[in-house]
Symmetry: C2
Subunit: 239 residues, 2 copies
């Protein structure tokens, strides 16, 4: 956050799907290696954290498991947390998508839609391999199981809050300094997403993540009046 942020690759490309010789299509050898290293690091991080707990894994361990030097780890991730919680490349998309929603939608609707569809896309099912070899589900399991990471996730999502708040303000022409609504909506929405995702992970992925999140937004839009506001929606969806 302080530095120059010249962190190199991004997960968001190169499926490396089942086809083994999709190796050469418009990515150079360098890019492929970078991506491989990044994935190895992420994967090692998740494995180690899952088995030992976040506090008992050092950056050195992760680097070793991915067979790179500890210093190299920091060329890919700005912090140990980032390797586990990841997803930073998604911030830009989020902004663009909120701004891109039809203008007759209320900010609430726009945010709900964007958040839900993002989560739907990256959560398919606990064992699908879509584009991120290290998946949302594993991350959320790790977070759910580790007290330190539960706190870290909240902090991590502060970045999302800010982006969402700015995008909402831009949509409505509000001034962030004088109008607390964008920040309020963003924070509440991220709280919903976080609680819902952890609930989803806790339940082993039984209900689709998207449905849990949508139920959370529904409860939110009903003013959180009633403890049944969410469970009912979920039960209805499960039928």
């Amino acid at each position: 956050m302080t530095g120059l942020s010249e962190h190199l690759p991004s997960d968001a490309a190169a499926p490396t799907t089942s086809g083994q010789d999709a190796t050469q299509h418009d990515t150079t050898r360098r890019d492929r290696k970078k991506l491989a290293t990044r994935q190895a690091l992420r994967c090692a991080a998740l494995d180690l954290v899952a088995s030992r707990g976040y506090a008992h894994v050092t950056v050195e361990d992760i680097a070793e498991a991915a067979d790179v030097s500890p210093r190299t780890f920091f060329n890919y991730f700005p912090s140990k947390e980032a390797a586990v919680l990841g997803d930073d490349e998604l911030l830009g998309e989020l902004r663009a998508e909120i701004l891109g929603r039809p203008s007759q939608e209320t900010p609430f609707q726009a945010v709900e839609h964007v958040v839900c569809s993002h989560i739907a896309a990256r959560s398919r099912h606990p064992d699908s391999t879509w584009r991120d070899p290290v998946e949302l589900y594993r991350r959320m399991r790790a977070v759910q199981d580790d007290p330190y990471l539960r706190v870290a996730l909240v902090a991590h999502m502060a970045a999302f809050e800010r982006v969402v708040a700015d995008a909402v303000a831009e949509r409505t022409g509000a001034d962030t300094a004088s109008d607390p609504y964008p920040a309020l909506l963003a924070s509440a929405a991220m709280a919903v997403a976080r609680v819902a995702l952890l609930y989803w992970a806790r339940g082993g992925g039984a209900t689709a993540a998207e449905d849990v999140v949508r139920a959370g937004f529904h409860a939110l839009s009903s003013g959180l009046a009633d403890s049944s506001s969410m469970t009912e929606t979920l039960a209805k969806g499960a039928r």
Copy 2:
């Protein structure tokens, strides 16, 4: 968070109000010194952070300013953040007060009431000296002004979320594992409190903190439907 948490004193006692010879009433000399040290550390931390920014203040600086050894700093606070964000002793009160609200109140009402009255109590006015010589307002100013602290505050409040969620679950007899409502309510409430307090600090304390928070809860209970849901309430309150 990992250790034994045998951190010693607590702010929540000994007004040391204007009377200078309230020095001996049922506090021992030791207790008074501890409290003084704690306050000196907190105060030094806030001063230094306000003038230089969080990242450019070391624990050594704070300890030096309070005239204790760096090691002693960690006898009082588990981390540098804690010295600035503080207020941990408040967690127990929060739980008790939520459980103590009349049982005909909905969880939402109970949480709203407790949060609002807490904030009302500790925010009186930017220059009052009530019981905490280092005040909520200064803290929120520091947080508002420093990007790192904005994130840290979110993480810090995760502890509150948990306590509130547990208390709500206990009130309603819900099972935290199967019912996401308590966590959802707690997270949303803390989001409201946080956004409102930062807004309050940004505005220089013009509107009473309590009113801003209450407006936030009102917007939340209206489902965040509309960007005017909060500003209108605020305007009405200001009249």
